[in-house]
């Protein structure tokens, strides 16, 4: 594709929502209030696994100030089948049970009842008055223990999908999936060198700053308004309508500004409860989670336990690859095991591949999406094993990857054959980076890893309204998490040929714009961007038509250039260009308001590849790891707003460093979560991080008007393995279980010293 030059796309403009955010004026979920609003609070199970024999709410109801109490009995039960809710296929039986426990509490923190009261103190008091008769059951937290024979069974009705003869067997394994390519026996027989190892990861929380918050207000005629912090107001609407037996048009959801989501705000928790309580109380109800509730009750990402086996020829050609991965779904099926299996070896061109994955339930909160769901877990095992292979072959870790990189024509193990992809370009950029060219300092280790994500499209709607003064309101339904308003406005400015500042992008509620699938999967700049461009083009066509009317020429004789209607050629007539503002001011006289609309299912999202390089130092006595230098290389298609592209790359790396080094859930022997706050759930702070150097590779996506692929998912895929590889470089020790926290690394270093001493 020829290099295009743009006036606005690719420039670093101030974000439209910036002033509000830095002055504290922006309204996040908990900032919405209604007159007469009640405080909603949720009672949560203290048990990891228990039958609920009965719930007595009478004392709570009798407490003055309590206006409504609810349990699962207030919501209809749902059939055990996959159904669409806001364009996501979900099992509504499970969703309704996750939102509020029915026959069983399945994890510490599982919601069992909720109250709405005039004050928070009364609401808390009411929770204490609800009597739940639990029959405590044995529980299981760990994924491999959940699969083991004799493990406590979470769901009597669960049978393993895709396994013959599983009809009669009680199990915690919800599904088995498998992908194969080539012939494994032949692969292994060609291999001169084989690596085989087991790896585990821990579930980690998305760690968004803003806890979930929702305010629901219902009216006597059954209409509901909901304000909440979400990645997808249309998905919230879809879920709530299904769970409460309502019509979608009766629920109007307005998304607040959002203090992070990372996938964790793609599902519902308190939203349907706030609606139900509001319906019962006849007043608005506000539910805001505490941080403790966020940790105990909302989705972390899935963890995995896996076995990886790789075979290669002496010269470093990988000829066989095998992955068996058990992923932890939490209390209900739905670990991202499909993507984990598909992404696992997607970066490589390998002839013989076998990948088997399992979706496993255990007594922990149901997982939610987290950046590139599943991919980082598989990459931890695969990318660690690739380095073990490089060590065994005596090859450079980056050379081995370059030699086996997926490229145009590579057939993946999950079916499709890659077209034009940026894996090779990304690896070349990594190899030529100043970082990789710089020698290590004494004591340091360097690690590399690569990562893949599909990127997705899905449904978006957008509208472009031209104001009477020639400024433009740009309307979409995609919550702005990573600066998407700025990116959408840049594309609109480019199309229209007007100043970026003349375009005001807004995020509309579910009643003010057509359906938009949620913000996630790195789709907004791609898919909503496409809708925006189409909507703007429709408005431009209308602008041309108005100019044609004024000039009394055919619309084909009018072109749009530099923000003006111009005659297509000298034969059209001698007309001065008409600016957007000049046409807009006469809109009423030439046919009424000038708007453009578009709605589409965006297809052809381009796959994203990334490579990351880390230098670390290890304190050999304490096991403390310092990340000294980090470079993140990624093919993003086109960087519409480079600041926010870099922000996504850096943010993914930060979360990956936390996942690698310290983040984990700590359970006591009763299955209760012990670290329910940021003091003991250790996400990195600024001083834990080096400057993270982004290198943006731009291989434009031919399916998008501005070449966008998607950015936000890939950067969290490589960090864990890359850091593990760097630690191996610095210490000679291969860590196989996350997190590589100081106590664990220190113990491993000591164990290695002991065995070295024994060898001497």
């Amino acid at each position: 594709m020829a290099e295009k030059t743009y006036k606005w796309v690719g420039t670093r403009q101030p974000r439209p929502d910036g002033a509000d955010k830095v002055t504290g004026r922006a309204r996040f979920g908990a900032d919405f209030d209604m007159p007469g609003q009640l405080v909603g609070k949720v009672l949560r199970s203290p048990h990891a696994h228990a039958n609920i024999r009965s719930i007595d709410t009478s004392k709570a109801e009798a407490l003055p100030g309590v206006k409504a109490v609810m349990t699962s009995a207030d919501m209809p039960d749902m059939p055990d089948e996959m159904a669409p809710a806001g364009e996501v296929m979900v099992n509504l039986r499970d969703v309704t049970r996750n939102v509020m426990a029915r026959e069983k509490a399945l994890y510490d923190g599982h919601a069992v009842a909720a109250v709405a009261a005039t004050t928070e103190a009364i609401a808390r008091q009411a929770l204490a008055l609800i009597e739940v008769d639990y029959e405590v059951l044995p529980h299981v937290i760990d994924v491999d223990q959940a699969v083991a024979e004799g493990a406590p069974i979470l769901h009597e009705n669960l049978r393993t999908k895709n396994v013959d003869g599983a009809e009669d067997t009680l199990t915690n394994v919800a599904a088995r999936i498998q992908f194969t390519k080539g012939d494994m026996d032949s692969g292994w027989s060609q291999a001169d060198v084989v690596i085989e190892h087991a790896f585990t990861t821990k579930p980690v929380h998305q760690g968004y700053i803003e806890p979930h918050a929702a305010v629901a207000s219902t009216t006597e005629d059954g209409q509901v308004q909901l304000w909440c912090s979400t990645q997808g107001q249309f998905n919230v609407r879809g879920y709530c309508a299904k769970l409460l037996g309502m019509e979608t048009s009766q629920i109007r959801v307005t998304p607040s500004e959002i203090g992070g989501g990372f996938g964790g705000k793609t599902v519902v928790y308190g939203e349907p409860l706030a609606i139900k309580l509001s319906q019962k109380a006849g007043k608005p109800v506000k539910i805001v989670m505490t941080r403790e509730e966020v940790f105990r009750g909302s989705g972390p990402t899935a963890a995995g336990a896996m076995d990886v086996k790789l075979g290669a020829t002496k010269d470093g050609r990988i000829v066989a690859a095998d992955l068996n991965i058990r992923m932890q779904a939490g209390a209900f099926p739905g670990a991202p095991v499909g993507p984990a299996c598909m992404c696992s070896f997607a970066c490589y061109d390998i002839d013989n591949i076998n990948v088997v994955g399992f979706d496993v339930v255990s007594n922990r909160p149901k997982v939610a999406a987290y950046r590139a769901p599943g991919s980082p877990v598989a990459a931890w095992g695969v990318e660690s094993a690739i380095n073990m292979l490089a060590e065994k072959l005596g090859m450079d870790q980056l050379e081995l990857r370059i030699k086996n990189a997926a490229r145009e024509g590579t057939k993946t193990h999950y079916g499709p054959t890659f077209k034009d992809i940026g894996m090779a370009a990304t690896l070349d950029a990594a190899k030529n980076s100043p970082h990789y060219q710089t020698p290590l300092k004494p004591g340091q280790g360097r690690g590399v890893a690569v990562g893949f994500w599909f990127n997705i499209g899905m449904d978006s709607s957008a509208a472009c309204h031209v104001g009477e003064d020639g400024t433009v309101t740009l309307i979409s339904g995609s919550p702005d998490i990573g600066g998407s308003r700025a990116s959408l406005a840049l594309m609109a400015a480019e199309e229209l040929g007007v100043d970026y500042q003349k375009i005001r992008p807004i995020v509309a509620d579910t009643a003010s714009i057509g359906f938009n699938f949620l913000t996630g999967g790195s789709r907004v700049t791609f898919a909503t961007g496409m809708a925006v461009v189409q909507a703007v083009r429709e408005a431009i066509d209308e602008l041309r038509a108005r100019a044609a009317k004024l000039w009394e020429v055919d619309v084909e004789a009018v072109i749009w250039e530099d923000g003006c209607a111009k005659p297509a050629g000298s034969n059209v007539g001698d007309f001065e260009p008409l600016s957007l503002a000049e046409i807009a001011v006469n809109a009423g006289k030439t046919g009424g308001p000038i708007n453009g609309h578009a709605q589409l299912n965006a297809q052809g999202a381009g796959p994203g590849f990334g490579a990351q390089i880390y230098d670390v130092s290890v304190d050999q006595d304490t096991g403390h790891v310092t990340v000294d230098r980090c470079t993140v290389v990624q093919d993003v298609g086109t960087a519409i707003h480079p600041d926010y592209v870099e922000g996504q790359l850096q943010g993914g790396v930060v979360q990956g460093i936390g996942w690698a080094l310290n983040e984990e859930y700590i359970y006591n022997d009763k299955g209760q979560l012990e670290n329910t706050g940021f003091l003991d759930y250790r996400m990195p702070v600024a001083s834990d991080l080096p400057m993270i150097e982004p290198i943006i590779v731009e291989v434009p996506n031919p399916n998008h008007p501005y070449g966008v692929r998607g950015v936000g998912e890939v950067p969290i895929v490589p960090p864990m393995a890359a850091i593990g590889n760097a630690i191996a470089g610095a210490t000679g020790i291969r860590m196989t279980d996350l997190p590589m926290s100081p106590p664990k690394l220190s113990a491993a270093i000591d164990a290695a010293r002991v065995s070295e001493a024994a060898d001497d």
Partner: protein, 82 residues
């Protein structure tokens, strides 16, 4: 004829394990209908809750999408994201 690639478990359930199929049809819907004719019951697994890669590009909710005579069409699990 498009080259259709099924997931392993669909193949196990419906096609006696055969993963690759030569199928006539110029849209995803046409391919799905032809496969349903050959393997009754398979269509609901091809029309909902799946993604389709047409010549390496992923389509979600694909239905009326065009397919070239020599296209490779792979059905795969749907993809969401964070």
């Amino acid at each position: 004829m498009a080259k259709v690639i099924l997931t392993r478990w669909l193949a196990r359930q419906f096609t006696a394990g055969q993963i690759e199929h030569q199928v006539p049809g110029l849209t995803i819907r046409a391919l799905a209908r032809e496969l349903e004719y050959r393997y009754p019951g398979i269509i609901k697994h091809l029309e909902d809750g799946v993604a389709v890669a047409i010549d390496g590009e992923i389509y979600q909710n694909a239905f009326l999408e065009k397919v070239e005579p020599n296209s490779e069409v792979a059905f795969m699990p749907p993809i969401e994201g964070g």
